[in-house]
């Protein structure tokens, strides 16, 4: 059995999970308009962490994530020879060194904390976070390590902002996943951490379980979502099959929901094909934007919290159904005990990933 817990995160909404909870309950968004943030000097909606600046903010966030664990788990786990740290990120410390975007930050973390093994950096576009948790689960399941610490982190940069602008993919309002008026993503930045372990005893609070997950490629287009949701269907079906969870047991889906027309349509098609279209579902992008490589870990952190509190958050930005296939999108906060949850992610390169979290 693989346990997961000690979840924490930093986003525009706060510097730790505690600070997030009441804001999320009030459906407050961290998205703001930023003057002249765009390539042509236009204002853009973004989810920026206040005060986060400088070339080294990526490594500072990573270090903060590791430090946050000290009260939440048996501290010796961090430096144990049976622990692997995995970092999920797309652009890392690009601002510091475009040609070696992870090298220094990884060394800084390994040396600074005395980690026993060099961290793995998982860089699979927007599925990086879900994929890193799956990888950690699999390594623990195979007995290669006893514990794994997964940190998801990406920081905003002109590079990424101008890139998404060049694709005409940035929303001119705070993003509205699955809504009929959605017209793009709102980019965000953040950092989140979870700990996986074969032993429940290392956690100060009761952990949940991660049953595992899979990934699948659309084999269709490097930047456009599949019109049929093929890869997302395949990964979810494979995840259900491998974890032995009947789809009727899924009580909630933490979807990807970026707010682009085609991505959200693709997800709706896939969930419909999978017979999961009636399961309560949300996207967290309306709260802290799309944080790319960090997104999967951040959204798992919120999901773990939702499971603890028995509270599913409203899918912020959604008011009118806007996908050809309808979904059961949360228009209000919903108090409900949730036992088994499906988390999904999809990204550039045609990649898709999914995993299942379950209460003990």
């Amino acid at each position: 059995m693989i346990y997961i817990g000690a979840e924490n995160l930093v986003s525009p909404l706060g510097n730790n999970l505690e600070e997030h909870i009441s804001l999320l309950e009030q459906n407050i968004s961290g998205i703001r308009s930023f003057e002249k943030a765009g390539f042509h000097g236009e204002d853009l909606y973004l989810a920026r962490i206040p005060g986060l600046a400088g070339k080294l903010s990526f490594r500072m966030l990573l270090a903060g994530a590791l430090r946050s664990l000290k009260g939440d788990i048996d501290e010796t786990v961090i430096t144990s020879g049976r622990t692997l740290v995995l970092i999920s990120s797309t652009k890392g410390e690009l601002a510091n060194d475009l040609y070696r975007p992870f090298s220094d930050a990884v060394r800084f973390l390994a040396d600074g904390f005395g980690l026993a093994h060099t961290p793995w950096v998982i860089s699979n576009a927007c599925i990086s976070g879900v994929h890193a948790i799956n990888t950690a689960h699999d390594l623990l399941g195979a007995g290669r390590y006893e514990h794994a610490i997964v940190i998801g982190c990406d920081v905003l940069s002109d590079f990424v902002i101008f890139g998404f602008q060049s694709l005409f993919a940035i929303s001119d309002m705070p993003c509205r996943p699955f809504d009929k008026d959605r017209n793009g993503v709102t980019l965000g930045e953040g950092c989140a951490v979870v700990v996986l372990s074969r032993s429940a005893g290392i956690f100060r609070s009761t952990p949940h379980r991660v049953l595992g997950g899979t990934s699948s490629n659309d084999a269709n287009h490097i930047s456009g979502p599949s019109r049929t949701g093929e890869g997302l269907c395949r990964t979810v079906a494979r995840t259900l099959q491998r974890t032995g969870v009947p789809k009727e047991e899924i009580g909630y889906i933490s979807a990807h929901g970026t707010g682009t027309v085609f991505n959200d349509e693709m997800e709706a098609i896939a969930f419909h094909r999978l017979g999961l279209d009636e399961v309560p579902l949300n996207s967290m992008k309306g709260y802290f934007g799309h944080t790319l490589g960090a997104a999967g870990v951040m959204e798992c952190v919120i999901t773990l919290q939702s499971m603890r509190a028995g509270l599913l958050y409203r899918s912020l930005g959604f008011s009118c159904p806007g996908t050809y296939r309808s979904l059961n999108i949360l228009t209000e906060n919903h108090r409900k005990p949730v036992d088994t949850v499906l988390k999904t992610a999809s990204g550039f390169g045609g990649c898709n990933a999914s995993l299942i979290l379950k209460k003990i």
Binding site: F39, T90, K91, G92, L94, L98, Y99, R100, P101, F102, S103, V106, T118, W120, V121, I122, S123, N124, A125, H131, T135, D138, L139, G141, A142, R144, D158, F159, F162, G163, F164, Q165, S166, L167, T214, S215, S216, N217, D218, A219, N220, H221, I222, S223, E230, G231, R234, R238, R242, G347, F348, G349, G350, C351
Partner: protein
């Protein structure tokens, strides 16, 4: 137990597959990979749109497929991809940065290649493979990353994995290999390198 059943090593000087040199650059001023694309008669127009990282992964995977000969026997979701490098997508990242800093026109077709995992998407599209895929970034090749990922992918239903190392920015430093769950090389190939030996030999080959 050695699960490696084919490999190919691409440098600026040559391409070696399973111990034999299969291509050397001609005097022609085309880039080496483009020469190989023509010589191997790959006929895949999308190749020309790819960035250097994707071209290297594409050429390497095509050569491995030819070398192996029997990959099509596997189901479309039975082949996993395990790639890594030290430089992420920096070769294209630099070009995209130049497109907005110097030419003042951020290029969408460059931007879509500014993620290292795009090469796996290109290989998946080419072959209609829907299997697992992971891209890791390490300072130097970490054989545990490959063997552990292969083991966990095999446990998840993959029957073969195609993977390797793809650094392209400071000259081609590419090593791709194929590992199969249920197939071994014939007994006469004693001395055929395993994963450790492949990467050990990588920097001082022939």
């Amino acid at each position: 137990m050695n699960l490696v059943t084919s490999y190919c090593h691409i440098s600026g000087e040559q391409i070696e597959a399973d111990g034999r040199v299969v291509y050397r650059p001609s005097g022609d001023d085309k880039p080496f990979l483009d020469q190989v694309y023509l010589a191997a008669q790959l006929e895949y127009p999308k190749y020309h749109k790819m960035d250097l990282l994707s071209k290297a992964g594409f050429i390497g995977s095509e050569l491995l497929k030819a070398q192996h000969g029997g990959l099509s026997a596997y189901g479309d979701d039975e082949i996993g991809l395990i790639f890594a490098n030290s430089e992420s997508s920096c070769d294209t990242d630099g070009k995209f940065e130049a497109s907005y800093l110097q030419t003042h026109a951020p290029s969408p077709s460059l931007f879509v290649y500014t993620l290292p995992n795009i090469v796996m998407g290109e290989i998946a599209i080419r072959n209609k493979w829907y299997g697992e895929g992971i891209f890791g970034i390490f300072n130097r090749p970490d054989t545990a990353y490959y063997s552990d990922s292969a083991m966990t992918m095999f446990a998840k239903g993959m029957k073969a994995v195609l993977g390797g190392w793809l650094d392209v920015h400071n000259g081609l430093d590419v090593l791709l290999f194929l590992m199969e769950r249920d197939r071994r090389r014939a007994a006469d190939s004693t001395g055929y390198p395993d994963l450790e030996q492949l990467f050990e030999n990588k920097f001082n080959h022939i």
